[in-house]
């Protein structure tokens, strides 16, 4: 299928899944797969006279609009009540839900920022207050009367507050130190593991860097990353490559489809194939690297000179 046709089918299926939002998940997935499979089926019969995108538009019109088709499916499902919501209202409600979610996230972020700001502000306010009261107390020591007593009293309280905060900080520091001592063993192991992983990575890279196979492995790895990053572009080519190895890949895809959430499913056709091919290439490159390492180690061992 051409990219334009793929986009048309994908858009139809996206709207179909949205309209089927109250149906069980497997119904949504199956309905979308059914549409895709049917389009491919009709296209494989090679209708003459029309461009592919025109053919696809005609095939999709056989389903009615995605919302009509969804309604027809819902009407056939036992136990699912069909609520006749106008398409516009449905889209508006979906947009409203999205908007509410976005606003919710924004609100949470704002509250977190505000709390952080408040805490910082309180901290500096306290520091400033203590400093100002200290200066005032010394500056107006000679001041008598209620104002002088109030300032003195405030200064003492501020000093107490400062001492209290210092004690608390010391106490917290001790607890943190104790906790650190307890987890030192775990940290040592983690650090050792990290160093080991870095050393292994360095060896792998060194081995890969000096050989053509290493270069090939890196290229495969890059391709794997690229296929995962650019599913729409590379997935199209992968789709054509996939035709040759289609049996295995499609079986795996069908079995995996149900494990994914429907949101993943939206991009699964191209992304799934691309990621699968990427994963296979990555696996092959790793096998190549490991065999290269083994070969290298054996070669070194066999060339060690015995000085005894």
């Amino acid at each position: 299928m051409q990219v334009e046709s793929q986009v048309m089918v994908r858009e139809f299926n996206r709207r179909l899944r949205t309209a089927l939002s109250s149906a069980p998940n497997h119904v949504r997935v199956e309905a979308a797969l059914e549409v895709e499979s049917h389009v491919m089926d009709v296209l494989s019969r090679q209708k003459s006279g029309l461009s592919e995108s025109e053919q696809v538009a005609e095939i999709l019109s056989g389903f009615g609009s995605p919302e009509e088709y969804a309604r027809a499916i819902m009407a056939q499902l036992p136990g699912v009540q069909v609520v006749d919501v106008p398409t516009g209202a449905r889209e508006v409600s979906m947009a409203a839900i999205d908007l509410m979610r976005g606003l919710g996230r924004l609100l949470v972020a704002l509250i977190r920022r505000l709390v952080a700001l408040l805490m910082t502000g309180l901290h500096w306010l306290r520091v400033g207050l203590v400093w100002a009261l200290g200066k005032l107390r010394w500056g107006v020591r000679a001041l008598r009367g209620p104002a002088g007593r109030l300032i003195t009293w405030l200064g003492r309280r501020a000093n107490q507050l400062r001492r209290g905060a210092h004690v608390l900080r010391l106490w917290l520091g001790r607890r943190a130190h104790d906790a650190g001592v307890a987890s030192r063993g775990a940290r040592t192991v983690a650090a050792a593991l990290f160093r080991w992983a870095i050393a292994l990575l360095r060896r792998l890279l060194r081995a890969a860097g000096y050989t053509a196979l290493g270069g090939l492995a890196l290229a495969a790895f890059a391709f794997a990353g690229l296929t995962a990053l650019l599913p729409d572009v590379v997935g199209y080519w992968v789709y054509h490559i996939q035709k040759d190895v289609n049996g295995y890949l499609t079986d795996i895809r069908r079995q995996t489809v149900f494990l994914f959430d429907q949101s993943m499913q939206a991009q699964f056709t191209s992304t799934g194939n691309a990621m699968l091919v990427g994963a296979i290439l990555f696996g092959l490159s790793m096998v190549g690297l490991i065999s290269l390492l083994v070969w290298n180690a054996r070669r070194r061992r066999s060339t060690v000179v015995d000085h005894s």
Partner: protein, 120 residues
């Protein structure tokens, strides 16, 4: 008249699908073509929800099959329960058709003359 015709076709569609599947397993487009050739023009938007329902009722089963085309097809097959149901529905249909035929024959306007009678 057109609405009645549509209702009649819809009523018979389920039986038609079951009868077609009793011959052999078929995929969606194949079913649509066979039904259209057999005088039951049907759209994609009608057949797939119907197949979905029949599948849900356990009258048919569906299986994705990857052939040489490079894309999978969903093949539908009649179950034992579906076969029994098709038999029951066929008998009912024949009884109903026989009764209707008798009514038509006994009526003053024959089925083939109804158009001319109306015009007259």
């Amino acid at each position: 008249m057109e609405a009645w015709d549509t209702q009649l076709r819809k009523g018979g569609l389920e039986l038609a699908v079951l009868l077609l599947l009793s011959r052999r397993q078929m995929y969606g487009l194949e079913l649509i073509s066979s039904l259209t050739d057999g005088g039951f023009p049907v759209s994609e938007g009608t057949i797939y929800p119907l197949l979905n329902r029949l599948s849900g009722q356990g009258l048919i089963t569906a299986e994705w099959v990857t052939g040489n085309l490079g894309h999978p097809r969903k093949y539908y097959r009649l179950t034992g329960v579906g076969l029994e149901q098709a038999g029951r529905m066929s008998r009912q249909w024949l009884e109903y058709a026989a009764s209707m035929e008798q009514l038509i024959k006994s009526a003053r306007i024959g089925a083939d003359q109804s158009g001319t009678a109306k015009e007259a």
